[in-house]
Chain length 252, copies 2
């Protein structure tokens, strides 16, 4: 499995992904699932991946035209006139890559080799955009009502994002919120694993404001995890007490 | 879907279930998923259900021998000498009920009509016990290391239980913890819905200490939900701040 989140804020975009891949429980590896490309001063495009690793690696390679010699390559992500065009092209490549593998495997390929992607970025003169690309190649875009997308093992870390998200929050707080969401997921599910990748993109900067790999022994993440455990206990104990004998509590 | 949790504590057993059933999104109903039977002073057995509603209702009916006239019925749950025997019998009935429906539907029945159950209770002279019964009829028992079971839509509400559970906690706090776990799930997933059923069984009492249906407009649950949102925000803001320029935070 995997866990990736992309979030759109007033101040820009924040993304986080884990790096665990597994085929069964006895074949576990670390692979990067977050990629980005920049034209300084003009655009930044980021992609996060979940699903079949061969599929997602093929999509990234095809986007970079690695079938061609290095001097002949033209990355479509750096040429597309709008983020909508970027998402369309990424969706097309994703669908084609999945279909090729499925077709090549006949009946045995049915419903396999699928993957989902989060695409985020900004091109000069336009707003930052955030998309969720489905295995079928179509996609949806984030909005004020639905300002974040998750892919992979999404459920454990969802309640805290729902409650903690605020479009006006600082990029630092957004990074912190994602770390808490990842911490909850890591505690509950072995198929999501450290290290984590974090990227912060401020609007109108067209390059990462902050880009960081969070390793197992990361002091900040460890202190955050401990502090969150303590703070959750404190929050829990601050709640109104339940009373079995209170009339309002004994209606059945 | 469904969400049910059974938890074993030093002081006894606490159970909570939702009541939403759905077949698609346009056929939503309220059904009880928590059942219990007592022999005062001798035993209490509770069952919570998730999965195919016709299957789980059939299992409950068969346990109560509703195929016979009322004066000929002998509920196996009230006769089995140990909770292990109770779990064995419930598992046997569950497997048989699923198999009958599958067989009757041939190829179209494959992998359908399945259900999972949580069985909890205590028989005089023995410890309180908690079991998770699989559709295959086999089961596992809770232990000090794994003191709670969830069935249905389990992921959203799992992190807070992992962090909040303490075997020595009061039954009131355990009820509160389950309500917080359900609140997080209700906020994130439409297939889990109010009202909720709560039952608290103190050890060596052989009848519910507290049994209650929590309706939509329940004042305590509403105040808890609001207080939890506020407390979570407070907990989040109490965490150490993240700093993009701190050396420890810029290693990549």
């Amino acid at each position: 499995m995997t866990y990736c989140v992309g979030m759109i804020l007033d101040k820009g975009l924040v993304m986080m992904s884990d790096t665990r891949t597994n085929s069964g429980v006895d074949n576990i590896s670390v692979f990067r699932k977050m990629f980005h490309w920049c034209v300084p001063g003009e655009r930044i495009v980021a992609i996060m991946t979940a699903g079949n690793l061969a599929t997602t690696q093929a999509v990234i390679s095809l986007l970079e035209e690695r079938t061609k010699s290095p001097d002949e390559r033209t990355n479509v992500l750096l040429k597309a006139p709008t983020m909508f065009q970027v998402a369309t092209e990424v969706g097309r490549l994703l669908r084609a890559t999945i279909a090729e593998r499925q077709d090549a495997n006949g009946e045995g390929g049915r419903n396999r080799f699928t993957a989902s992607l989060i695409v985020a970025g900004q091109i000069k003169g336009m707003e930052p955009r955030l998309f969720l690309i489905y295995p079928e190649g179509n996609f949806i875009e984030a909005s004020a009502e639905t300002p974040f997308f998750q892919i992979g093992e999404t459920k454990y870390g969802r309640p805290i994002i729902i409650r903690g998200y605020d479009a006006a929050m600082s990029m630092e707080d957004a990074a912190k919120l994602l770390m808490v969401s990842f911490d909850s997921t890591l505690k509950a599910n072995l198929s999501v694993g450290m290290p984590l990748d974090l990227m912060v993109v401020e609007r109108d900067r067209y390059e990462p404001r902050h880009c960081r790999r969070i390793e197992y022994e990361d002091a900040y993440f460890q202190s955050l995890s401990t502090a969150w455990a303590d703070a959750l206990r404190g929050a829990f104990h601050s709640l109104p007490d339940y009373d079995f004998t209170d009339p309002a509590a004994t209606t059945a």
